[in-house]
Symmetry: C2
């Protein structure tokens, strides 16, 4: 019986002939694992994690390169590991020779910069025998006298920073005030306040670092959603999370860690610190939204599929484990329904579809695709699963947009011209390649308008 191996988050699946190692199998499927020693167990670089299935026992080479804790978590060297049953194998980003491609580019979109937080430069008189007010009170009095602000709340961690910054910054600090009411952060006087915007997709995460004064995007990061190792679609994630609170928290932790890493890297890239990020906004479908907040996802999987919460939320970053400014808020846009989430609301807002005069259709294609039909201010939205088709699942040569995937394709006469990611030999076809292929087949008259293959000299009858 043939053994099948599924490499995630790349999305390459295929047969592993008997006696082949996971590394051999990966090579055959075009998954470019790093291996410096040629697969002899002596470089320790082809680390993978076995998520499901039975494999051969760890070898002495693996015990040399992997800590007991990692071995316990089923980390293995691909070159020393032989599948004994069908397997699901996670490839950590650091084991890939070419990183997976995630799109973060977009059309520029004009909007007014009006963040909920505003930074004030505040110079406070030092205490003296004639002025024995507490640091916080002197600080608040200046905010009130000079800036006309009556803040009602000071975040406890902002308090913790206040006295230290005042005394080391010659009694001048930046107060970051949210909605004119709460001091969410106290920063040294120089750094510009930063914002973080996150699109938390089922498959991919896009994160952007913004200058909150100019509104400019300073840096962007695309990455795979690390939860993918626990299920490719939202239903699989919900099922995994429902098995125990610990598993739900594990999924949550994976995303939080990825976002913290992205925030820190982007901040470093622009010469700042993650703690200068004083406001964040995050969108995702309802399941991603709930998992990120630690909300139960059970109701999403049971009729009538209601969310725990649909309203917009403001949650302290630290309450979610985010290591930006600890008093900063993360704003979450409202959800519409169990399967039409905050990411769709973001799409509605960004396209301003409510104010287009004519009947207009909005498509947000992803692992889940959300569709909105708008006409004369009335909007009707729905969603459907589409990831499997667009991301290569259930397509015999399908794969995600990793190295070797055909991402563009053209029929030129009898020839097929194509471009692969990384320009290497083709190993499969990703979503954009599949769309290109369909469009080209349609244009060439090989596929009819109902999607059916016509008889054509180049079309062979197969067994599918």
């Amino acid at each position: 019986m043939p053994i099948y191996v599924d490499f995630e988050p790349i999305g390459r699946r295929g047969e592993c002939p008997n006696g082949q190692s996971l590394l051999d199998c990966a090579r055959q499927l075009g998954v470019e694992l790093i291996n410096l020693c040629g697969g002899h167990g002596s470089c320790g670089r082809c680390v993978v994690q076995v998520m499901a299935g039975v494999v051969s026992d760890p070898t002495p080479e693996e015990e040399k390169f992997l800590t007991p804790a990692r071995l316990q978590a089923d980390y293995r060297l691909a070159c020393r590991t032989f599948p004994l049953t069908d397997c699901k194998v996670r490839v950590p980003p650091e084991s890939l020779s070419t990183p997976q491609r995630t799109q973060v580019e977009s059309e520029d979109y004009h909007l007014e910069v009006a963040p909920p937080v505003r930074a004030y430069r505040v110079s406070v008189p030092p205490p003296s025998l004639e002025d024995l007010r507490g640091d916080a009170e002197r600080f608040r009095d200046v905010l009130s006298e000079r800036h006309g602000l009556t803040v009602s709340t000071v975040d406890v961690q902002a308090f913790q920073a206040l006295s230290t910054h005042l005394r080391t910054q010659d009694w001048t600090v930046q107060a970051v005030v949210r909605d004119g009411q709460e001091i969410v952060a106290v920063l040294p006087p120089e750094p510009r306040p930063l914002g973080l915007a996150v699109d938390l997709g089922t498959t991919k995460i896009a994160a952007y670092l913004l200058d909150l004064l100019s509104g400019k995007t300073l840096a962007a990061r695309g990455m795979m959603n690390p939860q993918i190792a626990y299920g490719e679609d939202v239903i699989a994630r919900i099922t995994y999370a429902q098995q125990s609170p610990k598993q739900a928290e594990h999924l949550r932790g994976l995303v939080v860690a990825a976002l913290n890493r992205a925030a820190a890297e982007m901040a470093t890239q622009v010469g700042a610190k993650a703690t200068h990020i004083v406001e964040a906004v995050l969108v995702g479908n309802t399941a991603m939204h709930h998992l990120f907040l630690g909300l139960p996802v059970g109701p999403l999987a049971q009729a009538p599929y209601v969310p725990v919460v649909t309203s917009a939320l403001d949650v302290k970053a630290r309450d979610l484990g985010m290591t930006i400014a600890p008093g900063a808020y993360i704003h979450l846009l409202p959800n519409i329904a169990g399967y039409v989430g905050a990411d769709h609301v973001a799409a509605l807002l960004a396209t301003d579809i409510a104010h287009t005069g004519e009947a207009t259709l909005l498509l947000d294609i992803g692992t889940n695709t959300e569709v909105c039909l708008a006409q004369r201010g009335r909007m009707t939205s729905l969603s459907c699963a589409s990831g499997p088709a667009f991301e290569g699942a259930h397509i015999s040569c399908g794969m995600r947009a990793a190295s070797g995937a055909i991402e563009h394709l053209r029929l030129v006469g009898d020839r097929v011209e194509f471009q692969t990611i990384g320009d290497g030999p083709p190993v499969g076809m990703c979503g954009s390649g599949i769309l290109d292929a369909l469009a080209q087949l349609r244009r060439a008259g090989i596929v009819d308008r109902r999607g059916r293959m016509r008889t054509h000299p180049r079309v062979r009858e197969g067994n599918t």
Copy 2:
């Protein structure tokens, strides 16, 4: 040269003759360490922690009873440990055969029960195909329709509990609402909402569990402030905390752990859970207040000795590591100055001294004593160190109120009648005993009104 050993938090100090173990020395000073084996290193019960000074190396018996981590933290068996220099030794409560006495009794005080939180029993219609609102929205709508409440905020952890409780409690839960604005907790329908009141003293901590509906005190706990091992007075604590943020956080953690333990024990005692505590109030002197909040204490030790903050604060329990209801607030009364803190404000409020007509003096005697003179609504407060005198420090036979301390004393003719804590043989004198002794000496005319000893047949000239 004689070696002196100081046993804390008991407060017993004395000479340790050469060749005596810490256990021998403790016995001689009346510190009642548990030892079941008679000091032969075979019961492992006389565990102490060496905080300062040099002692003999650990023995094989100690390696048997103490983990490497505990040995690393200078935990030792008193019977196997011989001091080589002057030492300071901490006696953990579990190593004492009779617990130290801390007073939590007080006169009853009538007040109106008006906590900032109120619990509402809310029955929510289950979702259906005709009612696809999110759980939170259906819940909020009922709160608004039935109870006229428009809550603006729902704590994120209350959200996390909401859906689960609704589905397991037949769609009826208790919403705990603070100031009519924020849902701080969602509880099952039965448990009564509880409150926690804490007096965080430099030496002792008193904690009370209250029924927030009736205002009744359900349970009380007195305990030593575990920070005492790092300094007996506030100046010593501030010095220790200032040496590094890690040390400050360590002091904070000690108190938080003690309070969490007390809260859990009291809740268990009344058949409840610590997570049913939905509001807390804490007072302490300014240094204890700042250390508990993780605020810098440096400014308190430098002229002009200003606090970081004097205003009253409401801080989320979870932000301080308190394991009561995670969305609950801890209310901290305002501080007045660097050395007149929130505990004094509590004393002013409890005695209502502002409204006494005549000139009135309020004394709050503790490790620090705060004094307030009130006349015609004008109040003048100050503080002074008094712990050393009242708690036995710098008194040759002084000690804290532990087993064997003379706590009451009377002169009857030529005889001295006294009572010790635990009714055992006397080993020293604690604060109340010292006060009794002074009062009796004054009454007998042996001490004059200026505090001077008169010549008296029973008074001997000594060398002090």
